[in-house]
């Protein structure tokens, strides 16, 4: 990611600002008074809930705030800062970019998630990012189910100049994954990113299929897949926690990417997820074009959630 921290923060904020404005609004409206009391705490808690932190996580953040500042005179900025710090404390340990480090090559990345979460687009963005770091990337069109899913990845591959291994519609996804790893290895690629069909985590049969894709890859190369990335849609509510739990169990998810943070959804569920699963968060998606992937910056994310002004 050719990174200009300023503009990435601006862009994420553009998305998150509406949320932080809201949080900001509720916080500001609270801070006509200056002592932190129950009513204020409740409003803060609600603002966090409205950002999808979930009632339990929001309560924990507020408990922390209360322990530090209850009955003390506080400014709005101070309260926001405490909330941001607490959220950052939870998120900081899990921020970790995806890196091409596998030896032997290729770094094999399996991308999974529920339907429509942004897997295919994220693959294109990731591939582009690796290419900018001078890695050679191959893609595999492992969604052999959804109509035009193969074509979709092929279009992306064409745009960024990455080869796309594909099979027939309805073909066995595990077989295709195997074939693509063979080809990536033979061709000396640095990274292989494998797309999969979207699936809801409560569909056992489809989840088993993912487990099979994984197994087959590791047969060919013991360390593969090196990463199993779960793509989460920021508009998703508390069900994201179920998604992480089940995909982790069945497909051995090793890290997360959250997409669609360019809207008004705030993705607060990541805070609860970080606390509970401690899975690395690799990046966030902030738009539909190839450049719209950003490293996950816990500080910026926390501050945006808490509405801290830059």
């Amino acid at each position: 990611m050719s990174e200009e921290p300023q503009s990435w923060f601006a862009k994420l904020r553009a998305g998150l600002s509406r949320s932080s404005d809201k949080l900001g609004d509720s916080l500001s409206s609270v801070f006509t008074k200056s002592k932190l009391d129950d009513a204020m705490l409740e409003e803060i808690e609600e603002a966090l809930i409205a950002s999808d932190l979930g009632p339990a996580m929001a309560a924990r953040v507020c408990a922390k705030l209360s322990a530090e500042k209850y009955d003390k005179a506080v400014s709005e900025a101070e309260v926001r800062q405490v909330v941001a710090d607490e959220i950052e404390r939870v998120l900081a340990p899990v921020a970790r970019p995806l890196e091409v480090v596998a030896f032997p090559r290729p770094q094999t990345i399996l991308v999974v998630g529920v339907n429509g979460s942004g897997k295919t687009t994220t693959i294109a963005k990731l591939a582009h990012l690796f290419q900018e770091q001078d890695y050679r990337v191959m893609l595999a069109a492992g969604d052999t189910f959804r109509a035009a899913a193969i074509e979709q990845l092929q279009v992306w591959g064409g745009r960024i100049g990455a080869p796309v291994i594909s099979g027939k519609v309805g073909a066995d996804a595990a077989g295709l994954a195997y074939e693509s790893l063979e080809k990536a290895r033979a061709g000396g690629y640095d990274a292989l990113i494998i797309d999969t069909a979207g699936r809801l985590q409560n569909k056992q049969g489809l989840m088993d299929e993912l487990a099979k894709v994984k197994r087959v890859l590791s047969k060919l190369m013991l360390s593969a897949p090196h990463d199993v990335v779960l793509v989460l849609d920021a508009t998703t509510g508390q069900n994201a926690l179920n998604q992480i739990e089940v995909f982790k169990e069945v497909a051995g998810v090793t890290g997360l990417v959250m997409t669609k943070l360019d809207g008004t959804a705030r993705g607060g569920v990541l805070v609860a997820a970080a606390e509970r699963f401690k899975l690395p968060i690799h990046a966030v998606g902030v738009g539909e074009t190839i450049d719209d992937l950003r490293p996950f910056d816990p500080r910026a994310f926390a501050r945006a959630l808490a509405g801290v002004q830059e």
């Binding site: 998305g15 509406r18 609600e46 809930i49 409205a50 950002s51 999808d52 979930g54 009632p55 339990a56 529920v114 339907n115 429509g116 979460s117 942004g118 189910f145 959804r146 109509a147 035009a148 899913a149 074509e151 979709q152 092929q154 279009v155 992306w156 809801l200 985590q201 409560n202 569909k203 056992q204 049969g205 088993d208 849609d233 920021a234 508009t235 998703t236 509510g237 508390q238 069900n239 994201a240 179920n242 669609k260 360019d262 809207g263 008004t264 959804a265 705030r266 569920v269 539909e288």
Partner: protein, 479 residues
């Protein structure tokens, strides 16, 4: 797994049994739990607040019927209010205009618009014998137009030929013209996903609506959506005249609070629920089921309705008592299998029960279908009574004997044992869930059934409960 509302409430009301009417203090305490339950179910905060106010008003002073607990009383009031809010005029599609009737699909990226477009097209052409055409206006997502074309081929519905580079408003105009000339009854316009904050794309959506004068504009929303649902609903409803909502991915395990948010904000009916990736997975929206789900009661209510028609009482009472004790042996499994057959197959039954979804998939994956039900029964029948009562004693030798007796393999026997084990676990889970109270009543087949108890339309302030309970049942319910 989230705690069910009834579980939460049983804590609040433990001390209160036996009082006549719900006092304000009791109700407020209960409503705090209701609030958390709704938030956990992803109902948007502003909607939670107004809903809780409404339900509080109703609940204060309501008489608690003697045989149920105050907690159950509150659950009923909340459940009724939910159904009322979710339901309302679900009149289906209104296509009564000079043809072609245009249906325009809008929504966020990845919400399920294209799939739903094809599902509705299939339904209209197959069930209502309409002449249907679809056109994709999605020039953003790679291969989006191909996606719709392929779906059209799968369901034998015409799609507007793709002209590369043409822009959405022009495609809409061309589609209108083609539909008129070729005498189509219905024209479905699939559009690109857009964020409600993207002003350029929102303006484009208005322009498309202006050019095609749709009879229906359906907002397609993912039922996994969280708090953002209000923003989405507000913005889309503010920019075009929505006529209804479609909730997709109802086959997932989300609590689906977005349904309530959507109804509350748009005031438009939820016309369909998407329940799978296949093109016939489109259902009418069922407020009753969704209310139960939002409250964390699985689809116990629907189950109860169907079951109360079919389950035989004595059999059921025995099972209820055993389940209450957490016991579930092979005889029970056999009784279950029989009931399943009566209730429309195992898919139908397991799909409705909380905690059983996974099993259903496993069952499907391993090729279990209704025919295998009778084969499974044969396996149970070749067990000795002792084995049936204590399946854990069935070791390798016994398995071989049983397999022989039933004319099948040891693997099949293992499968059945595994299934039994999972069902026993599921039963334990259900027992823990609030649905159990209801489930047991259903088993007892009370006059009026559970439908009257939990569902039964919006009863208003004075809920009517059926009379007494079979002897001993209120003990079972109390836990």
């Amino acid at each position: 797994m989230f705690e069910s509302l009834s579980d939460r409430l049983s804590g609040v009301f433990d001390k209160l049994r036996g009082r006549g009417a719900l006092t304000e203090a009791d109700v407020r305490a209960a409503m705090r739990e209701v609030r958390v339950a709704l938030l956990e179910a992803d109902v948007a905060l502003p909607v939670v607040k107004s809903f809780v106010d409404k339900a509080t008003e109703r609940a204060i002073g309501a008489e608690v019927i003697r045989s149920i607990t105050p907690g159950q009383m509150v659950v009923k009031i909340v459940h009724d209010a939910l159904i009322e809010m979710l339901g309302g005029d679900s009149e289906g599609l209104n296509l009564d205009v000079t043809p072609p009737a245009v249906i325009m699909m809008v929504g966020l990226q990845g919400s399920g618009k294209t799939t739903t477009t094809a599902k509705i097209a299939k339904r209209l052409s197959e069930k209502e014998r309409k002449k249907v055409m679809m056109a994709s206006l999605d020039v953003n997502r790679p291969a989006a137009q191909d996606q719709l074309r392929i779906l059209g081929e799968q369901i034998s519905v015409a799609t507007l030929p793709i002209i590369a580079g043409q822009q959405p408003v022009d495609i809409a105009r061309r589609a209108m013209q083609a539909a008129k000339l070729q005498g189509f009854d219905v024209l479905l316009l699939d559009t690109a996903g857009r964020l409600h904050v993207d002003q350029a794309l929102m303006a484009e959506m208005q322009a498309v609506a202006g050019a095609s004068d749709p009879a229906e504009i359906l907002l397609v929303v993912d039922s996994l959506t969280g708090q953002d649902a209000v923003n989405v609903a507000q913005s889309f409803a503010g920019q075009v005249d929505l006529t209804g909502v479609v909730l997709t991915r109802m086959d997932g395990d989300a609590r689906g609070g977005a349904a309530l948010s959507m109804r509350a904000v748009t005031q438009k009916p939820i016309k369909f629920a998407g329940t799978g990736e296949k093109l016939d997975a489109l259902d009418a929206f069922d407020p009753q089921r969704v209310a139960g789900r939002i409250l964390g009661m699985g689809d116990v209510v629907s189950l109860v309705e169907r079951a109360s028609e079919t389950i035989q009482q004595d059999e059921a009472e025995k099972l209820a008592a055993k389940m209450a004790k957490g016991q579930f042996d092979m005889n029970d499994l056999r009784a279950q299998l029989n009931q399943m057959q009566r209730m429309g197959g195992m898919g139908a039954l397991m799909g409705m029960l909380p905690g059983m979804g996974k099993m259903q998939k496993q069952a499907e994956a391993s090729g279990v279908n209704d025919k295998t039900l009778s084969r499974m029964e044969a396996v149970i029948l070749s067990m000795t009574p002792k084995e049936r009562a204590k399946p854990e004693i069935i070791a390798a030798k016994r398995k071989i004997r049983i397999a022989k007796g039933a004319g099948t393999t040891v693997q099949e026997v293992n499968k059945l044992l595994k299934m039994h084990q999972e069902m026993a676990n599921a039963m334990k889970k259900i027992k823990k869930m609030g649905g159990m109270g209801g489930l047991m009543k259903m088993m007892g087949k009370m006059p009026g059934g559970m439908a009257g108890m939990l569902g039964g339309g919006a009863g208003g302030g004075a809920p009517q409960l059926p009379g007494g309970m079979p002897p001993g049942f209120d003990k079972l319910l109390k836990r």
